[in-house]
């Protein structure tokens, strides 16, 4: 237990209160906004000229938007992993991680929903999904389950925030003062009474139980968007578990990156300690091994049989034009992290941060590889089409929109962290009390 016992209540509150952006914070936010604006302009062009501004065509009819969507859905799963599973399993060191992972979940699921609208040829007909919805379609399942997950995540974030907001209202600090009206609206009813606390505790427990199956659903249903087709590489019974395990990995990687970033930015070394990185490192090894296991299943077994429809797809991944990206994703996203994290030194904050980035970047490319190469290998030969239909590399509009969406997700996290504590003050105080008792 590295955490010192001398931390006073005032000290904790002062440390964990949201802080004004410093110079770095300003630049960071400005960069994110800039990316978002470029993305917005690219989207304007797409609305105006149609999806022709993308490099998607009749064969590669889903491209970087969909892989980005899968990535967002995957990373949003982390909210349930850290908060719900750790809470139900009564993991004692979870407190500094839950809020961060909930914020990541909210922002990622928001942009998952947005990016799928961007992919639509007729976004103005979105309401057709509700007026003419067909429950037989996995898309509708995805719509239902993603909106449900969004609501639960928001609810969970809010319920866990209530006591913290109250604390912030009590602190007559100039940082939080301009927002007191909002805070009051959100949490003025909270009186720190035991009966209130009891109900709140119950709500959180029930939410944690509910969110786990819903979280499994969001990514399983997303995998079914692919697995319900006949395409080589998608036509797999393994897909749901494969996606969920991958989501846990990238989500945990994302949390590690965020932990490190917040620790540095808000000087939270006393709260997010080396111990936390160590524990998350062990987690990450386990999740990498799990995902690796599913990858072996997913690629080795079809490769053993080499069915005609799968063969060209698999050889393109293993040794063809997608081989560099494929092996990059496998090595950087799974193998290297496993080896680094096996060592105690590898689980120190900085190496963990780098490994976290590797996992997230590897995962992003993995999603790209799941979507695109498959579509280049239809069951009937790809003929009678213009040359541009045979290849896919995203256009600048696609890159801008995708990067813009990533920036947007980071912006939401940044803004949430600006106005709400990234570590639960209430829970930290509680933990401290327990410790001293």
């Amino acid at each position: 237990m590295e955490k010192s016992n001398q931390l006073s209540e005032e000290q904790i509150i002062q440390d964990l209160l949201p802080q004004k952006f410093g110079r770095r914070g300003m630049i960071w936010t400005a960069i994110l906004i800039l990316f978002c604006l470029v993305g917005a302009y690219a989207y304007y062009r797409q609305l105006r000229y149609g999806l022709v501004v993308t490099h998607m065509r009749d064969y590669v009819s889903w491209g970087i938007y969909i892989s980005n969507f899968v990535f967002f859905v995957a990373i949003s799963l982390v909210g349930s992993l850290i908060t719900a599973i750790f809470r139900l399993a009564k993991v004692p060191w979870r407190t500094p991680l839950t809020r961060i992972s909930e914020m990541i979940a909210i922002s990622a699921i928001t942009f998952a929903a947005l990016i799928i609208i961007v992919d639509m040829g007729r976004p103005e007909r979105l309401l057709n999904l509700f007026t003419h919805g067909r429950i037989q379609s996995p898309i509708l399942w995805d719509v239902i389950v993603i909106s449900t997950y969004f609501c639960i995540s928001l609810f969970l974030l809010y319920v866990t925030l209530i006591p913290d907001i109250k604390i912030m209202m009590n602190v007559k600090d100039k940082i939080t003062k301009p927002f007191h009206k909002i805070y009051r609206w959100l949490a003025s009813f909270w009186k720190d009474q035991s009966d209130q606390e009891k109900i709140r505790d119950r709500i959180i427990t029930i939410l944690c139980i509910t969110i786990i199956p819903v979280a499994f659903c969001i990514h399983t249903v997303t995998s079914w968007l692919f697995a319900t087709t006949y395409r080589p590489g998608w036509d797999s019974t393994n897909f749901g578990a494969y996606f969920v395990s991958g989501a846990f990995l990238v989500g945990a990687g994302g949390v590690v990156v965020a932990m490190y970033a917040f620790r540095r930015a808000y000087k939270l070394e006393r709260y997010i300690t080396d111990m936390h990185f160590d524990k998350m490192g062990r987690m990450l090894v386990l999740l990498s091994l799990l995902y690796l296991y599913f990858n072996v299943n997913e690629y080795l077994i079809p490769a053993f049989k080499m069915k005609k429809s799968e063969a060209s797809h698999l050889t393109q991944l293993f040794s063809g034009e997608y081989a560099p990206m494929f092996w990059f994703a496998i090595l950087v996203g799974m193998i290297i992290p496993i080896f680094v994290l096996l060592f105690k030194k590898g689980r120190k904050p900085l190496p963990m941060f780098i490994v976290g980035i590797m996992v997230v970047v590897g995962a992003w490319f993995k999603r790209y590889l799941i979507v695109t190469p498959t579509l280049l290998h239809p069951l009937l030969p790809m003929q009678e089409v213009p040359e541009s239909y045979h290849i896919y590399f995203p256009s600048w509009e696609e890159w801008s929109i995708s990067l813009g969406s990533l920036a947007g997700a980071l912006l939401i996290i940044t803004i949430l962290a600006r106005y709400f504590p990234v570590i639960s003050i209430f829970k930290t105080l509680e933990d401290e009390k327990e410790k001293s008792a």
């Binding site: 149609g50 007909r125 999904l129 003929q383 089409v385 045979h390």
Partner: protein
């Protein structure tokens, strides 16, 4: 003597008319003579009658009356509601037979289809694929349309009923409904669907002082004609239900000079390429017809006759092949 019998009176009910016919040859002549129809193949209920009559001279020199609608070479069909278009033609089950032994990659099917449906340049609803199944097998040309599956994977995944299966077996798209998610394109194992990535070409075509019919199509969208094409929606071979209603054959069928395509109604057990008409069940039995990717369980409505006793050598079609596709042989 002018025959006053019109649709509202004597010949209104098809059944009663048929029974009447059975009573004898003389009666047949009278009854058929009374019918307004000049082309006996078009289902009467689909013709848009004007209500205005014109007088004309019969073979015997008698003056008879017919509806003005028949003055056109092909009478206009009645305006269908979206509901009618979605339900399809009762009692029909359309089927296509493609005879691979007759195809030499002329691509007349393709150009006729592209022209009729204003398909975007570079895209095709009908593709003629050069197929070569194995190392030592003989290559052949395979025209590929939408299979109009009885268990359509594309329809299964559509979230908004924008693509649907009709009672006559045709799978259509309602471009006024489609949200452009392209799930159907991923789901189709025959990759038959195309997407309108940009503004359709039809706007350009109408500018070139096309005849009036085309201008009309700009205003009214019909799932059966698939016109006008709409940006951001999916398109595909529609089996030309508008042509069927007019008593004609789909464009690819009538455009093929070699009679590769045969179209018909399973409930009539017959298919025709215009010049020849065969009993469907006999044809499939005698020539060992098959369907593509039977193992997927999609149950296509398109049957293929194997490329045996070919009318043309495979090589005769090579000149029409795109240079890029010579490298992309299927194997």
């Amino acid at each position: 003597m002018s025959c006053k019998c019109n649709k509202e009176e004597g010949c209104q009910n098809n059944n009663s008319r048929r029974e009447f016919l059975l009573s004898g040859l003389a009666a047949t002549m009278v009854a058929v003579g009374c019918s307004d129809k000049t082309s006996p193949f078009i289902p009467e209920e689909t013709i848009a009658l004007t209500g205005e009559k014109v007088k004309l001279l019969s073979v015997d020199g008698e003056v008879i009356e017919i509806d003005k609608a028949y003055l056109k070479p092909v009478p206009d069909i009645t305006h269908l509601t979206n509901k009618q278009e979605r339900e399809g033609m009762a009692g029909k089950k359309f089927v296509m037979v493609i005879d691979l032994s007759r195809c030499k990659n002329l691509k007349k099917c393709q150009s006729a289809c592209n022209h009729a449906h204003q398909v975007h340049p570079g895209q095709n609803w009908v593709k003629v694929l050069s197929m070569d199944d194995a190392d030592h097998s003989a290559p052949y040309w395979q025209p590929t349309t939408c299979m109009h599956c009885d268990e359509p994977p594309c329809v299964k995944v559509c979230p908004v009923d924008a693509t649907f299966k009709r009672q006559d077996g045709i799978v259509l798209i309602d471009s006024n409904r489609c949200i452009g998610c392209r799930f159907c394109m991923a789901a189709c194992p025959y990759t038959t669907r195309v997407f309108n990535w940009e503004d359709p070409i039809q706007a350009v075509v109408t500018d070139n002082s096309m005849p009036q019919e085309n201008m009309d199509s700009k205003q009214h969208y019909s799932c059966e004609t698939s016109l006008p094409q709409k940006k951001g929606t999916v398109g595909k071979c529609d089996f030309c239900p508008d042509m069927i209603r007019k008593g004609e054959l789909p464009h690819c069928v009538s455009a093929c000079p070699n009679g590769v395509f045969m179209f018909g109604d399973m409930n009539e057990d017959a298919v025709t390429n215009g010049a020849e008409t065969y009993r469907f069940s006999d044809l499939i039995k005698d020539k060992a017809g098959y369907r593509l990717m039977e193992d997927l369980g999609t149950k296509p409505s398109v049957y293929y006759l194997p490329p045996v006793n070919r009318s043309f050598p495979f090589e005769s079609g090579l000149e029409n092949q795109l240079p890029a596709d010579q490298m992309n042989h299927s194997k």
